[in-house]
């Protein structure tokens, strides 16, 4: 469905419900209670679902953020302060708390969020139980009616329900806009490839923290809704059980799906209402539904149904090969989208040890601006380790210098390098699994916009840059496909496209030829040729020695973590030491093999 149509329908639906509830005499007290409950749970479930769907973070502590909203609203109402102010304060407080927690766990795997949020929920329950002056302790606290400064009056219960439905509608639309926009794409990128997203210039832990803060802010609105529609805050509403129910609702509806959030909210409201007076039934239904949905329709009910109803997509295998690539087109693309390479890479006296193992010793070489350096060596020579030091994923144990242009790289984190103009490609492509090829490249193109503007390149939008890259790399036919649906060769080409979109002046390539057949290799060869002709600085690491010798200006040969030889390709081709390293002491078969 079109994004705007979806939002308009959400708005219309919300307005309709608000009108029906708001009109006196249509909906009775019980009906109002049910509608309000679904509305505030829809907000909370959307918050949990957004985090699970876009970041892979399952939070068991979102009732803590609801509590922030609820008790802020209650205290503000007690003092007679307007409800608009309490909404803003709740958002502010929850997002600050969310950001701090997000940044603490974000440095680790997302699994740590599960454990952290469990702890958050336990702590919140305890604080609510004991901070009696604010929360009323276990007995709870009565909430005075909300006073609205915009409407200039105090809201009765009916008005509070209308306000909650309005909040829910707006929250769902804002969540949708964020989730399907550039920010959501970024979070999906970090979710599937933390390394590649860092190499692109994103800071995974900060992105996690932003997402967590946003989600927490949304959840706090649910708390404001509870405060004024139930008019009484019972600590039970913010217990671990309630938090787990939000997860149940997310699973049942489908993580990351808005209609799913609404359905999930209706589910967790309806089941306890239907099973009133029979203890344990709803807990059992929740548990059973969660397990059953995950075993039999892993994406959740709404996405699974949507998938069944949608007309079947294009079958795989049809036009998935990349179109032929012309090195002149690449050259033109590079001149249009990449700044002129002016910085060279200098590595001087670099050592790297893991514990007692010396992976790299006294490595020195330079890659002058606009040249191509090939880095070759047998397995275990330290090529990938070296690339990881240059990319910032390992820190050199010691080095006299690792510089890019005038910039000292030794203490720079990986995500700082893209902004300096250092791009890299990956041996296994590492495309963002949940983004189409177009979105993969567009997410990089947005990050590269600053560098293009700085270099004074023509002011094309990131979308236009993306289209140029897709066309030049022969990817246009597959632009809307997900990476997993495409052959490895196409994925590797797309990975190069993603790097070019960052407008780098140096591209470090990790085994661009590995795992490819001859036809795919020729595509890579053409791309490399075009990049070289346009003057991109290239550092290329590969096992395919012949390919590297063909494309590079200079070659560095590594063996056992040391530089074995350095020179022009012709020189290296005839170096007996290099032959010995590759083919053993004999060296005799080397001449034929390396010819």
């Amino acid at each position: 469905m079109n994004a705007w149509l979806r939002r308009i329908l959400t708005l219309a639906g919300g307005a309709l419900v608000a009108a029906v509830v708001g009109w006196p005499g249509i909906v009775g007290d019980y009906g109002q209670f049910v509608i309000a409950s679904i509305a505030f749970y829809a907000i909370a479930v959307a918050a949990v679902s957004l985090l699970a769907g876009l970041c892979g973070i399952w939070s068991m502590g979102h009732t803590a953020f609801m509590a922030i909203g609820a008790y802020t609203a209650a205290q503000f109402a007690l003092h007679g302060w307007p409800v608009e102010l309490s909404i803003l304060s709740a958002i502010g407080l929850a997002s600050i708390a969310g950001f701090i927690l997000g940044i603490s766990a974000g440095r680790f795997s997302v699994l740590y969020f599960g454990l952290l949020t469990l702890a958050l929920c336990m702590a919140a329950t305890e604080v609510i139980g004991h901070w009696t002056s604010i929360t009323g302790g276990d007995e709870g606290i009565q909430v005075s009616p909300a006073r609205s400064i915009l409407l200039g009056r105090t809201l009765d219960l009916r008005g509070a329900v209308v306000m909650t439905v309005t909040l829910a509608t707006l929250a769902l639309i804002v969540v949708d806009v964020v989730a399907s926009g550039p920010i959501g794409r970024r979070w999906l990128a970090v979710k599937s490839q933390r390394t590649a997203s860092a190499a692109m210039g994103l800071r995974p832990h900060v992105e996690n923290a932003k997402a967590f803060a946003f989600s927490a802010a949304v959840a706090s609105l649910a708390g404001v809704g509870i405060a004024f529609t139930i008019s009484y805050l019972d600590p039970i509403a913010f217990s671990l059980d309630a938090s787990v129910q939000l997860i149940v609702a997310t699973v049942v509806g489908g993580a990351g799906n808005l209609l799913g959030a609404l359905l999930g909210a209706a589910f967790i409201v309806a089941v306890p209402e239907a099973a009133r007076g029979i203890p344990n039934i709803s807990v059992f239904v929740f548990g059973a539904a969660t397990v059953a949905v995950l075993l039999f329709m892993q994406k959740g009910i709404v996405p699974t149904l949507a998938h069944l109803l949608r007309p079947s997509r294009r079958k795989a295998g049809e036009s998935v090969q990349a179109a032929a690539i012309d090195s002149a087109a690449i050259e033109e693309l590079v001149r249009a989208c990449l700044p002129r390479a002016t910085e060279g890479l200098v590595v001087d006296g670099l050592d790297l040890s893991f514990g007692g193992v010396k992976a790299l010793q006294d490595i020195s070489f330079t890659v002058p601006a606009g040249s191509a350096l090939g880095l070759i060596g047998p397995n275990g020579a330290g090529k990938t380790s070296l690339l990881n030091v240059i990319g910032g994923f390992y820190r050199a144990t010691s080095a006299r210098a690792v510089r890019f242009g005038a910039q000292d790289l030794i203490r720079q984190p990986p995500y700082a390098r893209a902004a300096l103009g250092m791009g890299r490609t990956f041996q296994h492509a590492e495309l963002f699994a949940e983004l189409t090829l177009r979105e993969n490249i567009a997410s990089a193109a947005r990050l590269g916009a600053a560098r293009r503007a700085q270099a004074g390149l023509s002011a094309r939008s990131p979308e236009e840059i993306t289209s140029l890259i897709l066309d030049a790399l022969g990817l246009a036919a597959n632009a809307e496909a997900l990476p997993s649906a495409l052959p490895f060769g196409v994925q590797k080409v797309a990975d190069i496209g993603r790097t070019l979109a960052l407008a780098p002046s140096l591209v470090a390539m990790d085994e661009p030829f590995s795992g490819l057949d001859e036809r795919e290799r020729s595509a890579i060869r053409a791309i490399l040729q075009g990049m070289r002709d346009a003057g991109v600085t290239i550092l290329i690491i590969d096992h395919a020695v012949q390919e590297v010798l063909r494309v590079a200006d200079r070659i560095v040969v590594l063996e056992f973590g040391r530089v074995l030889a350095e020179g022009a390709p012709e020189q290296i081709r005839n170096d007996p030491e290099v032959h010995r390293a590759y083919f053993g002491a004999d060296g005799a078969p080397a001449r034929t093999a390396a010819a």
Binding site: F108, L115, V283
Partner: protein
């Protein structure tokens, strides 16, 4: 501060239960990359079943063995029927976590239906108190700590000196390589879930033997066990055990000298502080934990 030794001693005693749970979590995580949130509920269910048997005349020692067997088998069944069908890989990691949350709810409801909502009274394994270095501790707790330490020693021996233990460690390091040298991952997974849930049942058994049991018997200890895992890392058995004992002591010290009302909050504070202080080596932690 004169009672500090007593506070630390009782912290170590509660820490032994947390350490068992933490070990269970880590053993299961290492074998199948699953954080098992249902581990406490599985153990609680086993303890409810055996306390019923004890009320019918089963001696405590036999009841403990029975609880371990029931929880272990339940763990194996969980892995076989709920976790294995999800398949391996990055995505199923979180799905598996949520499945165990769902399982926890189901067990919770089952306990509520059979035994009701109110706590059941459990007879202590032994009565009386003993003075250890001038600190009075109930005999019940002494026995619990002794058995917990013995169980940890047995686990250490199993993983260090037996063929199957070494195979489990190898499989935890690299599932694929382990398979190549002939270690069957399904056997390893079953065994790990048996051991993990089994030792959690030891913890639950002695928690109940302190007087009573309800469906939330292991909730607060499990939360502290998770905190211990945070300190020690998800993949280190020794780290998790040491972390859990540390949490036991810190929790008790803070509860005594800072505030008895905000113990969970203090543990939460420790977790957040640890997350900020612990070096992650940027992506290092992520890589080590295969996430």
């Amino acid at each position: 501060m004169g009672d500090l030794p007593a506070v630390i001693a009782s912290g170590l005693v509660s820490g032994s239960a947390y350490a068992l749970l933490a070990l269970g979590i880590v053993i299961i995580f290492r074998s199948t990359d699953t954080v098992n949130f249902a581990i406490g509920d599985t153990a609680t269910l086993a303890v409810f079943l055996t306390t019923s048997a004890m009320a019918a005349g089963l001696p405590p020692a036999a009841a403990l063995v029975l609880a371990v067997l029931i929880a272990g088998l339940a763990g194996m069944a969980t892995e076989r029927f709920l976790i294995r069908p999800l398949g391996a890989g990055h995505k199923s990691l979180f799905i598996a976590l949520v499945v165990t949350i769902g399982l926890g709810l189901i067990i919770h409801a089952v306990i509520g239906v059979i035994w009701g909502q109110r706590p059941i009274v459990v007879a202590p394994v032994a009565t009386g108190t003993v003075r250890v270095f001038g600190v009075a501790l109930t005999l019940n707790k002494i026995i619990a700590t002794g058995i917990a330490l013995a169980a940890m020693a047995a686990i250490a021996w199993l993983f260090r000196f037996t063929a199957i233990g070494v195979a489990m460690r190898a499989s935890a390091e690299d599932h694929f390589a382990a398979r190549i040298i002939g270690i069957r991952p399904t056997v390893i997974a079953s065994l790990a879930w048996f051991i993990g849930c089994g030792i959690a049942a030891i913890a639950a058994f002695f928690l109940a033997a302190d007087g009573s049991a309800n469906a939330n018997l292991t909730l607060s200890p499990l939360f502290r066990a998770f905190a211990g895992v945070f300190l020690g890392g998800l993949t280190s058995m020794l780290g998790a055990a040491v972390g859990a004992f540390t949490i036991g002591v810190l929790d008790n010290v803070a509860g005594r000298y800072l505030s008895a009302n905000y113990r969970d909050t203090i543990v939460f504070g420790i977790i957040v502080a640890v997350l900020f202080i612990r070096p992650s080596g940027f992506l290092g932690a992520a890589r080590k934990e295969r996430v």
